[in-house]
Amino acid sequence: MTPLLDVRGVTKRFRGLTAVDTVSLTVTEGEIFAVIGPNGAGKTTLFNMIAGAMTPDAGTVTFAGTRADGLPPHELCRRGLARTFQIVRPFPELTVLENATIGAMMRAPDMEAARTKAGEVLRQLDLWDRREAKAKSLTLPDRKRLECARALATGPRLLLLDEVMAGLRPTEVDRIVAILREINRSGVTILLIEHVMRATMALAGRIHVLHHGATIAEGTPEEVTRHPKVLESYLGAEAL
């Protein structure tokens, strides 16, 4: 197995606060990898460094064999790394189809091909029926799936998902879990940052646990949930 994403000792400080402290992780091609941790654990900061929105103060990010830290987001997207935003950012005045088409046009030879690709992705994410609606008129679950659709339309090798399940009802979570499995089966590696434990456990092959910006455990869902440090700091008294 070749590592698709290799994060080596990345650190990010905001003034005095170390948000992410020498974190290392490796995502293998084809897997679903999750990063979890309580609020303020540094998940989103780590995510932003991988996605190119922030540059690490120390450490390196290697994507598909080449250095990726410090590259602008659009360059990373061209290399096959697509992201979603925790607070969804659809293009509100454009239709659902246009939203997805803009994602698809990067790798499409022409706009017709981009629209076709966008249509495929919208079907995959159960949004085809809403294709003519303006993005601003969608409900939150639909917007979350549009966010995924748009990222997926760029034809990524690695899909970075920032809390796509947060704020969704359990039935909606189940729906998106099924969709993500399907996407993964089609050959897209997924790195997700999550808060929703149940879904993460069901979905991820390996889980990386952050607490106060530092790694406290990594392993399969079973290993992680049995890890004493995880029980203590993340799940807390409730789990004990």
Partner: protein
């Protein structure tokens, strides 16, 4: 991007009824000069002209979300280059259009680079565009080679010569009509292109656009440069229509403002908006100027701007997105299409 293929597709996709209506409208405009007198020809010239520059400005603001309040700069640059080359060197405006476009693009690129490279956004970017137009005004005011503040004049010749833009109102009517049609087709093609979609993405959310592989800086630069080029062409035509150029008028911010009203009233980011806006505003403004002249016995400068302001308020009050989106709904055209 093949313009003919795009045109064919546009015709192909548009509803039959709308096409017939559009064809009839064009046919009327083509034969209208038969019945129009000199005054009305000049009013129509202004309508077509404002529709053209409105279309150009709309690329920046309506498509890409970048506010320019200094588009008079490109009109002036185009005008001065066309006039200078003709008067001083005898170069036809048909050829002078090329350097006019190139110089305007260069200025657009400098403004864009300064703004977008250093993250100057929104109103601050708009201020930058105003500053450039003002600097140009002061520069031309003091540049004696082009007449300075006293103005620069293109001699009126008796012999009509359409290639050299020498002729009566009829000639300018058709030149401006052609310009408006070409600008429309160009914008329609751009709107559907990859670049057009990148602009819309940047306008809606630059950060999200970046995450989808769009080079935001390049997209914005393309918008400024293309918009500047189109405006410069209109500038050359306007200079030859007026036969004179005064820096204080040519580069005035009032001119810049006047240029952006049609697309705002017609509907930002739409293809028909700038045309519709020009057809609403210009005749109203001209009527008002004539009326004031009749009542007051003399022209009161700026009265049409006051009127435009009032019209803008009323129209925005009733149709906040512009007249075209409202009309489109009334005509039963689906929201996702033009």
């Amino acid at each position: 991007m093949n313009p003919f293929a795009t045109l064919a597709r546009l015709v192909d996709e548009a509803p039959r009824r709308a096409l017939l209506l559009l064809a009839a409208f064009l046919a009327v405009l083509l034969v209208a000069p038969v019945v129009l007198d000199r005054y009305l020809l000049s009013v129509f010239f202004l309508i077509f002209w404002f529709a053209t520059v409105g279309q150009a400005w709309n690329i920046m603001m309506g498509f890409c979300g970048q506010l320019s309040l200094g588009h008079a700069l490109y009109v002036g640059l185009g005008g001065y280059i066309g006039a200078l080359l003709w008067v001083k060197f005898g170069i036809s405006p048909a050829i002078a259009i090329v350097p006019a476009i190139l110089v305007a693009m260069a200025f657009g690129a400098v403004i864009g680079w300064l703004g977008f490279r250093f993250g100057i956004e929104g109103v601050y970017f708009a201020l930058l565009t105003i500053a450039f137009a003002e600097v140009a005004r002061i520069g031309f005011d003091n540049w004696s080679f082009v007449g300075g503040a006293a103005g620069f004049f293109i001699p009126v010749s008796a012999a009509a010569s359409p290639v050299n833009l020498r002729g009566g109102p009829m000639l300018f009517y058709y030149v401006a009509l052609a310009m408006m049609i070409i600008a429309f087709i160009l914008c329609a093609a751009l709107r559907r292109s990859r670049l057009g979609h990148a602009w819309l993405a940047v306008r809606e959310d630059a950060e999200a656009a970046r995450a989808l592989g769009i080079d935001v800086f390049r997209a914005k630069m393309a918008a400024v440069v293309i918009s500047a080029a189109m405006t410069a062409v209109a500038g050359v035509v306007y200079a030859f229509y007026q036969n004179n150029l005064f820096p204080s008028q040519t580069f005035d911010i009032a001119r810049s403002i006047e240029m952006i009203l049609a697309p705002i009233i017609g509907g930002l980011g739409t293809l028909f908006g700038p045309i519709l806006g020009a057809f609403i505003l210009t005749p109203l403004g001209q009527t008002l100027i004539a009326l004031v002249e009749k009542i007051a016995g003399r022209a009161i400068p700026g009265v049409n701007l006051v009127f435009y302001g009032a019209a803008l308020m009323v129209i925005i009050w009733f149709t906040p997105n512009g007249v075209w989106p409202w009309l489109k709904k009334k005509l039963g055209i689906p929201e996702g299409r033009e």
